[in-house]
């Protein structure tokens, strides 16, 4: 059993105070839906931390040791999300009077290059889109460095956006728009099941595992303070993404806001980002003029940071004791920058493109997964120079 550490009360209080403050600001000055998006973000951050639901480490464990635990949990999450989303997309939200839309993006060369770049970089940076946020929230100094360069890379990606968008593209391919619900689900679930079985068999062969139980097992009796099984993480992330669909009208995404934060920062130091093509597009142009808190992705990301901070302090594990040497700093810098740049090319990260994309029946999600995994393979090799 896991030993439960003492609660870090001052840090819990810090998190709660800012949670209440942002709840008040979002609800009173923007609206109920922004408040709900923030609350969902808190839940996402809490869940990501408690279940240690990371894509980077999970993929690395499989590449290096054929440990398939995290990958299997991710496949279960994708299967569950694909089923739920198929019935919800295109229907009316129960929060507001509007239709729910999916995360559909083009299947293009820029997605291939961007996702490969992202997969490689996330192994160097030590975290993916969601991973960088929740580990930075839980006190990991290295991930704050990664996040800073993630933001810079995102802005750089927006600068070159027109070039990357001009590369060959098949356009957006939505399975739900082109096939029936049954056909879409049959394709998606068959593919996910095949992948699940493949990684399980490879794990079984190498590590002699006999069952699937390790992702379902509770190692602690305390839900609030102990770690959660990966499977619980999978189910809750699908639940929160489902709620995000209804509150925001679109699925959970992470990295748009990083570009926005960077663009605001660049504007502050005198760079005229508003003249760049990307920031003249419909929504990015408005988002740049608007308050950051008006951007739903920013609001959910703030929630993730605070949710992870509270969860880590409740577990007594809020920590920034990692010693950062030059190599580690360089890894965080390179990894962060190219995750940001790659995410702009690939229309999102492991959340916006992989999780929400596949769940929405967008083929770009599958392309993203394939090339990001290939990139991660090389990232794991490159990681040895830094760690």
């Amino acid at each position: 059993m896991i030993v439960i550490k003492k609660i870090e009360t001052p840090i819990v209080l810090f998190g709660v105070i800012f949670t209440l403050l942002f709840s008040y600001i979002t609800y009173s000055t923007i609206g109920l839906r922004h408040f709900l998006v923030f609350a969902i973000g808190i839940g996402l951050g809490f869940t990501l931390y408690k279940a240690a639901f990371g894509f980077t480490g999970g993929w690395r464990n499989f590449i290096e040791k054929r440990d398939s635990s995290a990958l299997r949990a991710q496949f279960l999450m994708l299967a569950l999300a694909a089923i739920v989303f198929s019935f919800v997309i295109g229907s009316k939200s129960f929060v507001y009077d509007g239709t729910i839309v999916g995360a559909i993006a083009p299947v293009s060369l820029s997605v291939v290059i961007g996702s490969f770049m992202f997969g490689l970089a996330m192994q160097l940076g030590g975290g993916c889109g969601s991973g960088t946020l929740f580990t930075a929230g839980s006190g990991n100094t290295k991930m704050v460095i990664s996040l800073f360069f993630f933001i810079i890379g995102s802005v750089a990606g927006t600068y070159h956006f027109t070039f990357w968008s001009s590369l060959p593209s098949l356009g957006g391919i939505s399975l739900l728009d082109n096939y029936t619900l049954v056909e879409t689900l049959t394709f998606q679930l068959s593919l996910i099941f095949t992948l699940y079985l493949t990684v399980f068999i490879l794990d079984k062969k190498r590590n002699k595992i006999t069952d699937h139980n390790n992702i379902f097992r509770f190692d602690s009796s305390s839900l609030l303070r102990g770690p959660w099984p990966l499977f619980l993480g999978s189910v809750l992330l699908v639940l929160f993404n489902f709620l995000m669909l209804h509150a925001a009208g679109h699925p959970w995404s992470v990295t748009f806001s990083f570009g926005l934060w960077g663009a605001k920062l660049a504007t502050l130091i005198g760079v005229d980002v508003s003249s760049w093509d990307y920031w003249q597009l419909s929504y990015p142009a408005v988002a740049l003029e608007n308050s950051l808190l008006a951007d739903p992705t920013t609001v959910s990301n703030l929630g993730i940071i605070l949710g992870a901070l509270i969860a880590s302090a409740l577990s007594g594990n809020f920590s920034n004791q990692i010693k950062i040497d030059k190599k580690l700093f360089l890894a965080a810098m390179i990894g962060g920058f190219f995750m940001g740049y790659g995410a702009r090319l690939a229309f999102g990260c492991n959340i916006g493109a992989l999780f929400s994309g596949i769940a929405s029946g967008s083929m770009h999600g599958w392309v993203w997964f394939l090339f990001a995994f290939m990139g991660s393979y090389f990232g794991v090799k490159a990681r040895k120079f830094f760690y």
């Binding site: 239709t99 999916g102 100094t141 009208g249 992705t297």
Partner: protein, 57 residues
């Protein structure tokens, strides 16, 4: 001490966001797009554009 420094960095980040909120204001609320302003799931929200194709205003 290190924790205090870390929390100070986070506080600065949150303070900048709150300052930006007061300074920039909310000229357009992206979550208030009306029914009929979305044009089907093919034009749905890709993360990279933050819903650019999804919000006409």
């Amino acid at each position: 001490m290190k924790n205090i420094l870390y929390l100070l960095i986070l506080t600065t980040f949150f303070a900048v966001i709150i300052y930006d909120h007061k300074y920039s204001g909310v000229a357009y609320n992206p979550l208030f797009h009306k029914e009929g302003e979305t044009s089907g799931s093919i034009n749905a929200m890709p993360c990279g554009l933050g819903g650019a194709q999804n919000h006409k205003h």
